[in-house]
């Protein structure tokens, strides 16, 4: 009798097929969506501004949260320019002048290669679960989507007052992430699209970041290749490797 009651309760309260999902579980999924112990990827980044447009192709490697290496492959003018991150420090390599330069702290909040992403975005991998209080709204997204509302914890260092993530109910993949300021105004929007299978995982392969307070700006990142848990050692993320 008790079991039937629980089942009916569940059926009423959580009208999905199968099991109940908590906000906690969802945010965990988001945190780990693109994450793995190590990864290698090839991607295309398109930057659109009112004054110019560029498309770059890059190859990237990452190990955990602390090590990352990104190298530009195309266009020819920029080919070979690479960025290395080790813990909280960052270096850039420019093949034309054959120099490795350290990115000074004052430039860390500046944009990476002119895109709408900051150096800081690349360097810090925020854990949404650790830094935010998560609330789940089942109805805001209608029948098809969950909406997660993230409020930064007291100690979290961020300019955003609120982040909302739209997640498709049937494949549990994000479609949209919006960043809000104090006044509740949406300031940045990241759209996830083009779901593809990489290495057994189904992921949106395209992310488009649009600042909502500036006209005519957009940055789009498209993964053409994404491999997880590749064998990479810490020693790979070195200044020597940066210069290759």
């Amino acid at each position: 009798m008790g079991k039937i009651k629980t089942f009916i309760l569940c059926a009423i309260l959580f009208p999905q097929i199968g099991y109940a999902l908590t906000a906690h579980e969802l945010i965990n999924r988001m945190d780990n969506l693109y994450r793995s112990d190590s990864s290698q990827a090839v991607m295309r980044m398109t930057i659109i501004t009112p004054d110019w447009q560029r498309t770059m192709e890059m190859e990237s490697w990452s190990l955990g949260k602390d090590y990352a290496l990104v190298r530009i492959v195309a266009p020819k003018k920029d080919a070979g320019i690479a960025t290395l991150k080790r813990d909280a420090q960052m270096w850039n390599f420019f093949p034309k002048v054959k120099r490795v330069i350290k990115v000074p702290p004052s430039m860390m909040m500046g944009s990476w290669m002119g895109s709408d992403f900051t150096n800081d975005d690349l360097v810090r991998e925020a854990s949404l679960e650790d830094d935010y209080d998560v609330g789940l709204n089942e109805n805001q997204g209608g029948d098809t989507e969950y909406v997660l509302t993230l409020i930064p914890k007291a100690k979290t260092v961020t300019v955003w007052d609120k982040i909302q993530i739209w997640i498709t109910k049937d494949n549990l993949l994000p479609t949209k992430q919006v960043y809000f300021d104090e006044a509740g105004k949406p300031m940045r929007e990241m759209v996830f699209s083009n779901i593809q299978e990489f290495n057994g995982r189904k992921l949106p392969s395209t992310m488009t970041l649009t600042p909502l307070n500036k006209q005519g700006h957009k940055t789009q990142v498209e993964y053409t290749q994404l491999n997880f848990n590749v064998s990479l050692k810490e020693s790979f993320f070195s200044l020597r490797e940066l210069k290759r």
């Binding site: 420090q89 000074p104 702290p105 004052s106 979290t156 300019v159 007052d161 809000f180 300021d181 307070n213």
Partner: protein, 422 residues
């Protein structure tokens, strides 16, 4: 004193002429006093506007920090502050940290100057608290504070208002290299100094917070302090200020604590201001010169006229036996009396004028000279110079201008003068 009585009577025989001349002398003296008062007031206002706005009357730095602004030039300050606080000449003292940082809001990210201050001490030294136009001053020197004050123009660029989030990123120096320190802040106040650089570029956080963020416990880049005006005997002129033994003593004592730390007064730190002040002194001198040339001309003219009119008189006196010397003395005495009365009257007028302007004040706000906005209205000042130097110099000059007419009078040849008509 027969001479005096005679001189007095001679002067008042022609009331109109004497009055006009008295007026001329009085006006010149008064004008001189008022110009001096105004210029001294302007100088004080300029200095205080510059120093009391933010820098302070004097600052303490390691090596040449005031020129190089090298963030590595940081020093331990507790002992030095303790020593300075005990000096009667030091009215108030505060410590500051400066660092270039990046500030981001939801709309924008900019490179700015971070200034860390101890709210209570700072309020005694600079006008930061008064420059707040919205919100309130930092409430306390807490190391976990999230309060931040930002310049009005900066607030516009970042599109933030009170309570909004800001993230500050700065370099924390380590044994080797550096790492990024970031802090979350909420706008607690908006500051307007009407000085371009400060309103566009500066943010203020509690000193302890910066020390924690940057790993600078007990360290600062700068100490700023103000001089107690009562500690010094009279109103100081700039030269007197610089010549005080205080500066040498203080530097010697501080060198005992840390040989590379120096105490510098504002003339050293703000050489442009210093130059402006000496220029105003020069212009004062020139104005004074002009005034006296004009007054002297008037005096000589008047005296000559009085002699002319009395030619016949002088002829008679000489004929009945007065020596040229006595006549000379008589003219001089007349001049002396005129001078004395005129000067006394002038001092009265000048004092009134100065008092009036001191009360009302002249407002120069919204004009920027040499990077310093003049925030305080200018008030005339009373000065010994005005009551001692000006009268004495006036007296001397007037007496000198009497010499020629007196000599002329004494040399009158009675026979010729008695012929004189038109």
């Amino acid at each position: 004193m027969l001479l005096l009585t005679l001189a007095k009577r001679n002067l008042w025989r022609n009331k109109k002429r004497t009055s006009i001349t008295l007026l001329l002398i009085a006006c010149s003296v008064a004008a001189m006093m008022m110009t001096h008062g105004l210029i001294e007031g302007t100088k004080t206002s300029m200095v205080h506007s510059a120093t009391r706005l933010f820098p302070g009357d004097a600052q303490v730095h390691l090596n040449d920090y005031h020129v190089s602004r090298d963030t590595q030039l940081r020093f331990n300050y507790p002992k030095i502050v303790h020593y300075l606080q005990q000096q009667p000449e030091v009215a108030s003292i505060t410590a500051r940290i400066y660092e270039r940082a990046m500030i981001s809001s939801a709309s924008n990210a900019l490179n700015i100057q971070m200034v860390a201050v101890d709210p209570q001490q700072e309020a005694n030294v600079s006008k930061l608290a008064q420059a707040i136009i919205k919100g309130h001053m930092l409430s306390g020197n807490h190391d976990n504070s999230t309060e931040i004050l930002i310049g009005s123009k900066l607030a516009e660029k970042l599109e933030v208002k009170l309570g909004d989030r800001l993230v500050l990123s700065a370099a924390k120096l380590l044994e080797e290299g550096s790492e990024i320190a970031q802090g979350l802040f909420r706008v607690s106040g908006i500051v307007q100094f009407n000085a371009q650089q400060m309103d566009k570029n500066w943010v203020y956080i509690p000193l302890a917070k910066a020390q924690t963020m940057l790993g600078m416990e007990h360290q600062a880049h700068e100490l700023a302090f103000n001089i107690d005006p009562n500690a010094f005997p009279t109103h100081l002129s700039q030269d007197d200020f610089l010549a005080l033994a205080f500066w040498k003593n203080v530097n010697d004592a501080v060198h005992q604590i840390n040989p590379n730390v120096n105490v510098r007064n504002w003339p050293e730190l703000l050489p442009e201001l210093n130059a402006m002040l000496s220029m105003t002194d020069t212009s004062l001198f020139i104005t004074g010169l002009i005034l006296f040339i004009i007054a002297m001309l008037g005096m000589v003219n008047t005296l000559f006229m009085s002699i002319y009119e009395r030619m016949w008189e002088f002829a008679v006196i000489k004929a009945i036996g007065n020596t040229p010397g006595e006549i000379f003395l008589m003219i001089i005495t007349e001049g002396l009396l005129l001078a004395l009365w005129g000067i006394v009257f002038g001092i009265l007028l000048g004092s009134l004028g100065n008092a009036w302007i001191a009360h009302v004040g002249i407002d120069y706000s919204n004009m920027e000279f040499s990077g310093a906005a003049i925030v305080e209205p200018i008030r005339s000042e009373f000065h010994t110079v005005q009551y001692v130097h000006v009268p004495i110099i006036s007296l001397l000059l007037i007496l000198i201008s009497c010499l020629y007419p007196a000599r002329f009078a004494s040399k009158i040849i009675p026979a010729r003068a008695l012929h004189k008509s038109l």
